[in-house]
Symmetry: C2
Subunit: 268 residues, 2 copies
């Protein structure tokens, strides 16, 4: 993908040495004062894409150990664990100010290659009004400044855009890059992490919901256009929540599934 | 847990040096000629439990790179990535015959400690007949020898016990250790991986379904007694499937959620 798009330019990395890469964390992807987690993952997969022989991130697990530092360089250490014929596996660490911020374990493959048998099994998209009938995500509603909205056009289901109105913890909506960069399998990792936390629709403004760990499974290469997402929290117990989600492309094909464990902190 | 139980004795590890542990892979946990994946994960978490200061595996991601070797020793290399007040994070590799077989990235915490706010959100167990009205898992039905059945009592929902009878890819049933070892948070990692693959109920005998990656989130400490599980595959595309599942304890409380990406190979 040419670097004429914001996402490619602002996730670009250069190799410093064997297994060592350098990038720059741009504050244009911030949620409040912190870089968006999906953006940080995208910087890491920018390095992984150049190291591994397979083009598509099939499974990417990220542990968020510390917040990223905006407007600062980052080092990315990559260790290839195995390179097989159909799958390659690597770990990577994103380091700033001498401390590991994110730790990733990922498997890359080639989604254009058949790996076994099919079955009439998939997840259809939900009944979501078209983007122009959805509500643009707003920092005011969420109680946080959202510089990332200068990079992403995020529209929420009208029923999910207001805080604390629903009996369930669910968020759905649409996402695209504001500069019309087409989605690819790498950018799906970003799009799993660009909506308000799903408990927002049930509990209201809930402050910071730090992700402990996020795993994304990319299922298909996306068609051009909007990406649709639905995220829901099925279990919140003593502050620890598991949130699951799915993404579809403009054809309505499932393109990614995601699940994270995060914390729903008490309000101060 | 005392080593008077099979699971503890056969997942025991001893420290060889800084970050290096040794265990033994017992063929008593085999599925056919290969050690069960959940058993191999349990040997790794046996080492992690001794290294990390927190007692419960909150999130454990395993990449299955190569089959384990039964009746052979294994080395386990552990690297602690971060030790925080409420969470500690580590990676681990299980190595046999000089090759990494499994790679793990895990976060441990303390499930007896409140981490934030609650909500009336959880997943209730499904309507599963009691164990004595379910059907004991059988190697003949699955077309494979199952030494693991000497260690685990696994009962399947009568509707799910026959191959290829259902319009959906779903497996549910009960699990316990044959020697009455009570379940704990570490053994839940095993119990997420001890049922036939869920496409079995829809597609029939499907041969080997190798797991690429499995992530388990442990949600609560289990009460003594049977563990109930439900696993289903929602998307199978060109041989790659995502299977999600949930486990409940004898009180009906959700104790773990799991998701894996695996391959459904063509039959030879």
């Amino acid at each position: 993908m040419a670097e004429s798009f914001n996402f490619d330019r602002e996730t670009a990395v250069e190799q410093l040495g064997d297994g060592l890469w350098r990038g720059h964390i741009h504050s244009s992807w911030n949620i409040g004062d912190n870089p968006n987690g999906g953006y940080l993952v995208s910087v890491i997969t920018s390095a992984l894409s150049q190291v591994l022989p397979h083009p598509d991130p099939i499974t990417v697990t990220t542990h968020f150990l510390r917040p990223g530092v905006p407007d600062a360089d980052c080092d990315i250490k990559v260790e290839v664990i195995r390179t097989g014929r159909t799958l390659s596996t690597a770990r990577a660490s994103l380091i700033q100010e001498g401390k590991t911020r994110l730790e990733v374990l990922a498997g890359f493959g080639d989604l254009s290659v058949r790996a076994g048998r099919d079955a009439p099994l998939t997840i259809p998209p939900s009944a979501l009004p078209p983007p122009d009938q959805c509500i643009a995500r707003s920092g005011e509603t969420q109680g946080v400044v959202l510089p990332i909205l200068g990079r992403l056009d995020t529209r929420l289901h009208p029923d999910h855009a207001r805080a604390g109105q629903l009996p369930v913890a669910e968020i759905s909506g649409w996402n695209r890059f504001v500069d019309d960069r087409p989605p690819d399998t790498r950018s799906l990792l970003l799009f799993t992490d660009t909506f308000p936390p799903s408990p927002f629709s049930m509990l209201g403004v809930i402050g910071w919901v730090p992700t402990i760990e996020l795993t994304v499974h990319v299922r298909r290469r996306p068609a051009p256009g909007w990406i649709q997402a639905r995220l829901h929290c099925e279990d919140l117990h003593q502050g620890r929540m598991v949130e699951s989600g799915a993404l579809w492309d403009s054809n309505g094909d499932l393109v990614a599934q995601c699940r994270q464990i995060g914390l729903v902190m008490d309000r101060n």
